[in-house]
């Protein structure tokens, strides 16, 4: 028995080794290496000095960094919206309505489209003379053009919408997998007890989807706090600091201004924040799901 377990675990480790090695070199090691770096003024191109906790004290006095943290937290508001809509979409495409396969494919297309292409398409749609302004002016919702991405009151929410639009299909697929694992007899039993469609969702579907909701929420929170591509391509954090998120600010400090020591400190602070949020999400979703054994 013991031998069997040993050989089994050896096989498991052997299978995981290539992926783990890759992770170790490109993820774990940079994280570990970031800790000593955050205590220096490392800039690649000049001599490095130890600066102790200066980078951390500077970070909490850095007005732009605090704004970027706030913007990243605001970005997390996109998470519940994405989860609710993608669960509803999954329920929809799990039904037997005609043409459902087409919908599944259509919802998934944004997921596999490159973010650069998505960002460019949206920048045209949302431009001053873009389709969005044209339609809203036509139906009378707007009285004048809006520069959606250049106006501080709209830019961040527009970016959140783009993130949501691109991510919906991905989470929908995960929830669809979860839905297909729920035994049909549970629904039948509930129907026999007189449950309607809404009650089925509330009392059968959602409780049994909890592990999926937990997983999707955690990765979605992480994604929201670390959002980079769409922000950098479309606004670079502007106008002013309206859409400056922590990842964009860290990128600017490190790779544009060569303050790698400082950027490492900022990265560590954000990592701690993401970890704390993830723990919170775990705490809130501890029960539920289908026991498959």
């Amino acid at each position: 028995m013991y031998k069997a377990i040993r050989s089994e675990s050896f096989a498991a480790w052997a299978f995981m080794a290539p992926g783990l090695l890759f992770l170790a070199v490109f993820t774990f090691w940079p994280i570990i290496y970031g800790i000593p770096l955050s205590l220096t003024d490392y800039s690649v191109i000049t001599e490095t000095h130890f600066v102790g906790l200066d980078n951390f004290t500077r970070a909490f006095q850095d007005h732009n960094f605090l704004i970027s943290l706030w913007n990243s937290l605001v970005y997390v508001l996109v998470v519940p919206v994405i989860q609710i809509i993608s669960i509803l979409m999954a329920i929809l495409v799990n039904s037997r309505i005609p043409g459902v396969k087409m919908f599944r494919a259509a919802y998934y297309i944004p997921v596999v489209t490159s973010m650069v292409a998505v960002a460019l398409i949206w920048s045209w749609l949302l431009g001053n003379n873009g389709v969005v302004n044209y339609l809203l002016l036509k139906v009378g919702i707007l009285s004048e053009q809006i520069s959606w991405l250049s106006t501080s009151s709209t830019a961040l929410y527009v970016l959140m919408f783009i993130t949501m639009w691109k991510g919906l299909g991905y989470y929908m697929m995960l929830y669809l997998a979860g839905l297909q694992g729920i035994p049909a007899d549970l629904y039948e039993a509930a129907r026999v007890d007189g449950a309607g469609p809404l009650r089925l969702i509330i009392h059968v579907t959602l409780p049994l989807l909890r592990p999926h909701i937990l997983f999707c929420t955690v990765i979605s929170v992480m994604g929201a706090v670390r959002v980079f591509d769409e922000v950098y391509i479309l606004t670079k954090g502007g106008p002013g600091t309206s859409t400056l998120t922590s990842s964009v600010y860290i990128f600017q400090k490190g790779l544009e201004q060569f303050n790698f020591g400082y950027a490492s400190a900022l990265g560590l602070i954000v990592s701690v924040m993401v970890a704390a949020l993830s723990v919170l999400v775990f705490r809130l979703n501890r029960r539920g799901g289908v026991n498959t054994y």
Binding site: S9, L21, V25, D41, R58, G238, T241, E256, Q257
Partner: protein, 437 residues
């Protein structure tokens, strides 16, 4: 179960150690050649030792392959033992490439950078002080204003290469519709604003779009930093007035209320949403392709000046990284690439302006055949002697530019208070100047 946990711990430790070993493979060779002041005349290589120079440019391949291959071949034949390896990177990628190469101890020898980036790296001590290598005659062969753009504390960190000064492009159809005479163009910023206002009133089209960058300050004679570059100097009543006027013009619709990058500016001019465009001659190439009808109605005239009565150049430079293993040969090659003869030849193939004084005497820069390209070229080349890059000798230019651009966006796009924002940006810029990193 405990076995599994132990196994996991041991495996994780192994993996981490492996990764440390792997990560430690990239050495960081920190040796840089010691300078030997004086000439960069054709010396060839020391004791016949073969030298390979790595030369990086920004977005010049494949368009100018013939020019560069020919020039490099010419250089190699006159410098036995020197081989030049030419690599080209996109604009956005060159800084990352330079960092990663430097970190791995494989620094290139001659790199093409813009003035802002050269100043940023120079102030961090990452570039050679070229004053220790060049003769006086060589240093004086460039336009003074452009050469001084990357001089910090008396150290020259870059050789100016091809440059551009802005001209004013005008959509004559819109200008005529507004009842203005394109043959008598505006001479000052004030006049340009009046023209833009009239165009907006008569045609509904905005005057022009612009990017909110720090050069808006020096155009109106507001210095970004004080004389000895130790503190911010832009927080003045004049700056407040300049920004307030810009805000009012945006509110009126005379200037587009947008922080328009160059690509956006092309779109606006092509789509006839603005009547004017303030930019370098390369703008023509884009309009020609994207809007041939607009191109037909466009003329180029000398750029109206602001209160400072100066014209700003936007230069590309050649720098030699501090970690180059062949500093002398590298400087010599950079001087060769940027000498008058080669700059003139490059301007002819690339439709750019030279930064060497002697080049400008070539008929190519004084005679116009009446085409838009020739008009723009003559208009801009005749202002080179008065041209200066706007980040002249500014340490950490990139950081300071970002801070100022963000401040301008806060005021003009987000409606923040002018005085409060200028105070905050002044504080930020002073912090940038005071920190070592």
């Amino acid at each position: 179960m405990t076995t599994n946990r132990k196994g996991f711990t041991v495996s994780l430790l192994l993996v981490v150690m492996m990764s440390m070993l792997l990560a430690a493979c990239g050495g960081n060779d920190n040796t840089a050649g010691t300078p030997s002041p004086g000439s960069t005349g054709e010396t060839g290589t020391e004791a016949g030792k073969p030298v390979t120079l790595e030369f990086w440019t920004i977005a010049l391949q494949p368009t100018f392959n013939d020019y560069f291959n020919e020039l490099i071949a010419k250089y190699e034949s006159s410098h036995p033992g020197v081989k030049v390896e030419w690599k080209d990177y996109p604009y956005d990628a060159i800084s990352q490439r330079l960092l990663t190469s430097t970190a791995s101890g494989k620094s290139p020898d001659v790199v093409n950078l813009n003035t802002e980036f050269a100043s940023q790296l120079g102030s961090k001590g990452a570039l050679l002080n070229l004053n220790e290598y060049l003769t006086d005659e060589e240093a004086k062969s460039y336009f003074e204003g452009i050469y001084n753009s990357t001089v910090l504390d008396g150290k020259a960190y870059a050789l100016p290469w091809y440059t551009g000064t802005e001209v004013l492009f005008m959509n004559t159809k819109l200008v005529k519709e507004a009842g203005l005479d394109p043959s008598n163009p505006p001479q000052t910023r004030e006049e340009l604003v009046e023209w833009a206002r009239q165009v907006h009133e008569k045609t509904g089209v905005a005057g022009y779009a612009q990017q909110l960058v720090s050069k808006l300050f020096p155009i109106d004679g507001i210095p970004i930093l004080n004389e000895d570059k130790t503190a911010a100097a832009f927080n003045t009543p004049v700056a407040e007035a300049m920004i307030a006027q810009m805000r009012d013009l945006m509110a009126e619709g005379v200037v587009l209320k947008e922080d328009a990058e160059f690509s956006k500016q092309i779109q606006y001019f092509s789509g006839e949403q603005v009547a004017f465009q303030l930019s370098g001659p390369t703008f023509i190439n884009f309009i020609k392709k994207s809007a041939p009808d607009v191109y037909k109605n466009t003329i180029a005239v000398t750029l109206p000046t602001g209160k400072a009565n100066l014209r700003l150049s936007n230069s590309m430079d050649l720098v030699v990284p501090q970690k180059s293993k062949n500093p002398e040969q590298a400087v010599e090659f950079a001087a060769f690439m940027t000498n008058a003869e080669n700059q003139t030849a490059f301007s002819k193939v690339a439709n750019t302006l030279p930064s060497s004084k002697a080049s400008i005497e070539d008929p190519f820069f004084t005679q116009s055949d009446g085409s838009l390209e020739a008009e723009a070229k003559v208009a801009s080349s005749q202002s080179l002697d008065k041209a200066t890059d706007y980040m002249v000798g500014v340490p950490n230019a990139g950081d300071i530019n970002s801070a100022l651009a963000r401040g301008l966006q806060e005021i003009l796009m987000n409606g923040a208070d002018i005085k409060e924002t200028l105070n905050a940006v002044e504080k930020e810029v002073n912090q940038i100047l005071n920190q070592d990193s």
